[in-house]
């Protein structure tokens, strides 16, 4: 029956009882679900991946011939896109807060808002790359170009994957296939999204703002 799909309002005696995770998750010896633990292990491995790329950038910075970062960076523009990515983290947690309260309308709005913020960020990155190429910085121009495009391009790819993930969650919510009991699904996608945000916090500080 259609009405049975509507989750009851949160609260009362169930408030401090962990809700069952969706998709057939079961009791584990760790006391946490496998999907969430797997996501954290994946994010931990990503720390090493992005750490390696940031280290590579620092290694090659100032050792390139030709155009240098300071010649092409547009700090006001990148600050604006960083602000947009920060705001997307806010809308992501608001989506989680909404589905935990069985507020599916706001869940959909916040998921779409997060995806739109992400798209704006990626759009800004495409514009930035286009400008850099116009000024003569290509992947094969020098070591700065190679390490910069690899680092920020991989980050942009992560954001793009996150956008696809968010839009698929929005689709599921719209079809009524994502309910309050599936809140962990939104939380896990949120973990990925916030990780992409914290990686950008590091990239923005180390790559763009710190002087040579």
């Amino acid at each position: 029956m259609e009405q049975a799909a509507i989750a009851p309002p949160a609260g009362g005696a169930h408030a401090s009882t962990p809700v069952h995770a969706g998709h057939g998750d079961h009791e584990t010896s760790t006391g946490v679900t496998n999907t969430k633990l797997a996501m954290w292990i994946f994010l931990s491995s990503e720390c090493l991946l992005f750490g390696a790329l940031i280290a590579t950038y620092l290694l090659y910075r100032g050792r390139s011939k030709g155009i240098e970062p300071a010649d092409v960076y547009n700090i006001p523009f990148t600050s604006a896109t960083s602000f947009i990515l920060l705001m997307s983290s806010l809308t992501m947690v608001l989506a989680l807060a909404a589905i935990q309260r069985a507020d599916y309308r706001r869940t959909k709005i916040w998921l779409v808002a997060t995806a739109l913020f992400g798209m704006t960020f990626v759009g800004g990155q495409v514009y930035e790359f286009t400008e850099f190429v116009r000024q003569g910085v290509r992947v094969d121009t020098n070591l700065f170009g190679s390490s910069f495009y690899l680092l920020t391009g991989l980050h942009g790819l992560h954001v793009t994957v996150g956008i696809v993930w968010l839009l698929s969650l929005w689709g599921l919510t719209t079809q009524g296939r994502l309910q309050q009991k599936d809140s962990e699904t939104i939380e896990i996608s949120g973990l990925y999204w916030h990780f992409v945000d914290v990686v950008w916090i590091v990239i923005f500080t180390v790559v763009y703002l710190i002087p040579r």
């Binding site: 259609e2 509507i6 962990p18 969430k36 006001p76 600050s79 920060l86 947690v93 807060a97 309308r105």
Partner: protein, 147 residues
Amino acid sequence: MSDAETTTTTEPVQDPDHNMLVGTAEEREREKKYGLQEIPPEEVPLLPGELSHHPSPFQYVVIAMILVVITALEVAVSYLEGDIPNGLIIFLLLGMGLVKFVLVASYYMHLKTDKPVFRRFFIMAAVGAIFLYLIVLTTLGVWDGGS
């Protein structure tokens, strides 16, 4: 309950005040009764792996505002290049970046309220990566300009 009644309660309602993504009658009733901000975190069911409740939506917004202010300060400090020593700029920028990192990880990724196993994994990886690559960069003479 007849099918007609069921349809009446679950069909999306056209609300003149909200032209996009209107919810079901139940959602709108609940919204009217509580409003998103008024359901306290204590009344929201815990997710698996959580030890205590998440922050409220209002607290999330406050954290976002703090992040925005710190970002603005970072950008402002970066423009002081030449006016104050570069070492001080680097110290301030890394400090503010660390504060932002910790805020997002603690409150948005819920490391503060989740079981410690997640925190241990993440800190081990993040701190391990920092040490590993600091050793690599030092070995390669990045700080002294060598090759």
